[in-house]
Amino acid sequence: MVSIAEPIAKPASRYRFILDRRDVLGSIMVAPAILYVLLLVGLPFLLAVYYSVSAYTIYDPSWRFVGLSNFRQIVNNPVFQETLANTFLFTFGSQLLGLVLGKFGALLLMRPFPGRKIVRALIILPWAVPIALATVAWEWMFDSLYSVINWTLISLGIITRSEAPNWLGNPHLAMLCVIVVNAWRFFPFAVVIFLAGITSIPQDVIDAATVDGAGFWRRNYQIILPMIMPIVAVGLIFGIVFTFTDLSVVFLLTNGGPVGATSVLGFEGFQVGIVSGDVSHGAAISLFMLPVLFFVVIGMLRFIRRREI
């Protein structure tokens, strides 16, 4: 299809020397991407830091420096303390549930069986489909009156209609719901990660262990799991970062309620910074994500590097 390039007959242009210098051309070619990222990620990031130490609102866009007082006010606010606790519960609850489900899913998909391709395609769905659309489907399934879950429980005789739970109206159940929906969204990703890791292990390692008398559990937890740890760590970085900072599930499913029971950092930053227009406090709330993200990423990267050596 592709033929070897024909010799070029025309005389070399004036700029030809630029295009022949590997280092110069390399810098020119990488420049647009770096510029885009610097201007629309780096610059806004610095702005966010500055907003958080100023008195900036959309009604009074002043750049007055106020030091750390925004942070002081936030930390002393019990609503924010609850939000911070919610964020950790939400993140680690859904990651744990997602990992367990992902491991089981990968275990099932490892074995060849008729229709595996279709099953795999169906299991990928929650990760593939836009989360906002999947979340509204869940919202309808959790509906206070027409919930299909309640209908099923009632017809199975497990509960009566009068004691049917109001999933999104009860603070504890609402938290459970956002965790479940988020775990549901991420576990297919964990399945793919586990599968990619497991298929990268040479079969003779597993065979050797089997010959040496390692049973199913021993093989799984003492040989396979340690060997796929680096790739699982990468998956966890993504899972934690995207869950810790997300607001779409909470925004659509519970809108932070009931009475703040499911409010998370991203959602609170949106409410304060965009809805109320208090940009400085919103930015300060958002910046609370930063140390956690930083430690997660650094820790995981170090862990991976150590495993590779």
Binding site: I4, I8, M29, L40, P126, A132, W151, M289
Partner: protein, 281 residues
Amino acid sequence: MRRTFLNIAGGGAFYSAVAAFVVLTAFPFYWMLITSLKSNPDLYNITNIPFWFNEAPTFEHFQYLFQQTQFARWLLNSLIIGLCVVAITLVCALPAGYSLARMAGRSGEALGIGIFLTYLVPPTLLFLPLSRIVASLGLQNSMWSLVLVYPTFTIPFCTWLLMGFFKAMPVEIEEAAIVDGCSLFGAFVRMVLPLSLPAILTAVIFTFTLTLQEFVYALTFISASAQKPVTLGVATDLVRGDIFFWGEIMAGALIASIPVAIAYNLFLDRFISGITGGAVK
């Protein structure tokens, strides 16, 4: 005898587990489908069996969606946004990925990891300053703000993806072209790019699905109905006060989900072949 019984029992347990997983992942989508085809009296009767039609299925929700709401407009917006972001991403990520793959030593590697890490900077950290930037550019309430902002996460990801692909490509291809009289850049355009079509296709599909899945920036920047992308429109615009138009919401969610689901499943295999399948072995 005992052995075959155990085998059958084991097989049964295995398939039950598979079935349970499929129900868990796919039920919400079945629920979209069945809700979108049910008539309202059927939908809002708590004594009806919810899993199947108690009255004749109807297309009235789909009709309403296309005739009485801006759904078609939202689909078009998403398409325009996606295409523009794909163009910007390719223009930036293709040369960047190539440059980083061929850059000698640690600087190329460090720069590559640096670009990739920006993919992990979350929208919820940046939406406040970006919303001010978008406003000062006069793009608030316009879908062009999304065209401007979405490349911030598609460029890092595609650069990383393409970098891996270019690294797997043998340098001899360019060297042969240079011997034949191409400039270095000419070798990239005439030899490397045509051989990279599978990787470019992967990047295009990935970029497009990422723009369709994004929600936070769209929610922050856009409140005018006519400018919304499809995910935001379906999730926020089909609610009037306290009344949810469930049939329409589910119909809209279903229509917007199907192409992404298909593209993603195609992309999974493409993704693997894009990374492992070099042009010349």
